[in-house]
């Protein structure tokens, strides 16, 4: 038996619903239909009254989740695509994110965002929005890269008392498989060393973990040992693990699928430069998507985001510095 990233997300939701009567799911087409990506398939049947179709009203969907969270429920809301969370933006960053700070009442909700590019999806069904949510205080932003993390982090997202923006990568939904679901997991807030090496550290997250691992593999055949760190959550961001890795390797490349201006890669480099200056043997580098909307055509799309190829190229340049 094997289980996909998407199935892990479904299983995590099923478990959350099973274990905790405060959990419910609300979103467009999440009910009988099981969601646009089938992440809630069969859940309405199994948990009658707790998996609820919403009108096309992302703002109100989010406000509704906040209200129920105030009352102690643990809502999971699904945006059909991360891109549509821009019309729920205000409720996420100003309502959910400020509640605890303002009132001392916590706001335990999970916003599931199907993120990231897939071929042919174009400018409005491909966005990676971790940056805009991480910038605002009050949110936890998770970016699982593996089937196991998709499962365990979603469970943890439901369990913690703060609003969580859960960035699932659509490209991983069907292709990424694991043998079984994990029974234990690193806590949220901890990055994971996914590959050891001594020549360079690649810090990355979400789908780019896999591109980076492929690049590391490619470089291994040239004799380079590349260490890869999967951030897992980008807020909080586990600077310690990053720094420890850079201390070993002396070189840092940050890779992200989001746009280049001011996101995860800038944040990681700013922290390492400020606090780990002495650890670096070469200037820290980064690789992001291009600074344009995400193109529709597969050729353009493949050139727009970092890939194993461009990560390997950037790594080679950095190794020569």
């Amino acid at each position: 038996m094997s289980i996909t990233y998407l199935e892990a997300i479904r299983e995590a939701q099923a478990k959350a619903l099973r274990d905790d009567p405060r959990v419910f799911i609300y979103g467009e087409d999440v009910g009988k239909f099981g969601g646009a990506f089938k992440a809630t398939k069969n859940l309405q049947e199994q948990f009658p009254g707790r998996v609820i179709d919403a009108p096309i009203s992302e703002d109100a969907i989010t406000g509704f989740a906040v209200g129920s969270a105030i009352e102690g429920m643990r809502p999971i809301i699904e945006m059909q695509f991360a891109d549509f969370s821009t019309v729920a933006f205000n409720q996420i960053v100003n309502q959910a994110a400020t509640l605890y700070w303002r009132t001392n009442v916590s706001c335990p909700l999970v916003v599931r965002l199907p993120c990231g590019g897939t071929s042919g999806s174009g400018p409005f069904h491909s966005q990676s929005l971790e940056t805009i949510y991480s910038h605002y205080p009050g949110l936890v932003v998770m970016t699982p890269a593996t089937v196991e993390d998709a499962y365990s982090m979603l469970l943890e997202a439901v369990a913690i008392d703060d609003p969580v923006v859960f960035c699932e990568h659509k490209l991983l939904y069907y292709h990424l498989k694991a043998e079984k679901l994990p029974t234990e997991a690193l806590p949220v807030g901890k990055a994971r060393l996914v590959r050891e090496g001594r020549d360079m550290t690649v810090v990355t997250y979400s789908a780019m973990v896999h591109e980076s691992l492929a690049a590391a593999e490619e470089l291994a055949s040239d004799g380079w040992e590349i260490e890869v760190v999967d951030l897992r959550s980008v807020k909080p961001l586990d600077t310690d693990t990053v720094m420890a890795s850079v201390a070993r390797t002396g070189r840092l490349l940050c890779v992200g699928e989001a746009w280049p201006w001011g996101g995860v890669t800038a944040e990681v480099i700013a922290r390492v430069s400020a606090e780990g200056w002495g650890l670096l043997d070469a200037p820290p580098q980064r690789l992001n998507a291009k600074d344009t909307p995400i193109p529709y055509h597969p050729n353009l799309w493949a050139a727009h985001r970092p890939t194993a190829r461009s990560v390997a190229d950037a790594a080679r340049r950095l190794l020569r510095m």
Partner: protein, 319 residues
């Protein structure tokens, strides 16, 4: 109503004396509308007031101290110096603290009502208020529609005071009456003269009652003028004198007092006594709060998430 009026007058005078930072927003003239809602809500209900709902808040049970502490930024207030003026509440007592973005509390009230329904609570009502201008927001539309789809016991009270800040209704909407919106959401709608306390109590009370007994969302349009600026910084010179001189321009408080006198329920002396008592109550609250310490930024707990272990420690590398 009287307490609300006196308290807000005091806050306005503190503002003019430079004792309040930020804005002061009062509900002068709209107290009959607001109190008629607040008074019909009970413990276990949920209320998300607008910026003009001092009267409704007090009637719902908010204390004068909570209001004054929030305005004066006392760390002992419910918002602990963090948020101010009208942005106060106690969510766990059913009083939701508004965020500024107009319309965005409606869906939050819906969520509370949904949770109550899930937990088996019965006869709960959720109420929230907006002005005429607030009806133009997308959030109003999504929220009211959501309540209608979920058949939630929401009372959506719109105080139509003919202006949104300086903008008159003709630049805000084109329907003949805001009441015409009810049918488009499939909710019941009623309209009332907001200067008339008896009418307000009846009409708004009826809406609360219908919501409580399963009648679904209720839209109430209360027509009234605000007898003040948008905030205390604003002289409201844009308000049409014709409106001011119309019956809608009457002061609901005066109307109420006159009625009480006319009906012989009170006499002038009693009224004066009430007022003196209320003034005393407000003055003593203000005096108390003014003696309270200011917040100490060095001792302040600067954490934005309640999961302490997930607090970003590296957030500000140099501070």
């Amino acid at each position: 109503m009287l307490l609300s009026r006196v308290l807000e007058e005091k806050l306005a005078s503190l503002y003019r004396a430079g004792k309040i930072h930020g804005g002061v927003f009062v509900g002068r003239g709209q107290e009959a509308v607001s109190v008629s809602l607040g008074i019909q809500l009970r413990k276990g209900d949920v209320f998300a007031p607008s910026i003009r709902d001092m009267a409704g808040r007090l009637a719902f049970g908010e204390s004068v101290l909570d209001a004054v502490r929030t305005y004066l930024g006392s760390p002992l207030g419910p918002m602990r110096s963090r948020d101010g003026n009208v942005h106060r509440g106690r969510p766990q007592e059913g009083l939701l603290p508004m965020i500024s973005h107009l319309g965005s509390m409606i869906s939050v009230v819906n969520g509370v009502l949904f949770a109550r329904r899930m937990s088996g609570a019965k006869e709960v009502v959720g109420a929230t208020c907006l002005g005429d201008g607030g009806t133009s927001t997308g959030a109003f539309h999504e929220g009211l529609n959501q309540a209608a789809v979920e058949k939630l016991p929401l009372v959506m009270l719109v105080a139509n005071n003919f202006y949104a800040y300086s903008t008159s209704n003709d630049r805000q909407f084109a329907c003949r009456s805001l009441l015409d919106k009810a049918i488009g959401y499939g909710v019941q709608g009623v309209e009332v003269d907001g200067t008339n306390i008896i009418a307000c109590l009846e009409t708004i009370g009826g809406a609360v009652q219908r919501a409580r007994s399963g009648g679904g969302p209720q839209l109430v349009i209360a027509n009234v003028l605000r007898l003040c600026g948008h905030g205390e910084h604003d002289d409201a010179s844009y308000i049409d004198p014709k409106l001011k001189n119309s019956p809608l321009g009457r002061d609901c408080l005066k109307v109420s007092e006159e009625m009480l006198l006319r009906e012989g329920w009170v006499n002038e002396a009693q009224l004066a006594e009430w007022r003196a008592e209320v003034v005393q109550q407000v003055e003593s609250a203000v005096a108390t709060v003014q003696r309270e310490p200011a917040p100490d930024p060095y001792q302040h707990d600067w954490t934005a998430v309640s999961s302490r272990h997930l607090q970003e420690l590296h957030a500000d590398t140099s501070a």
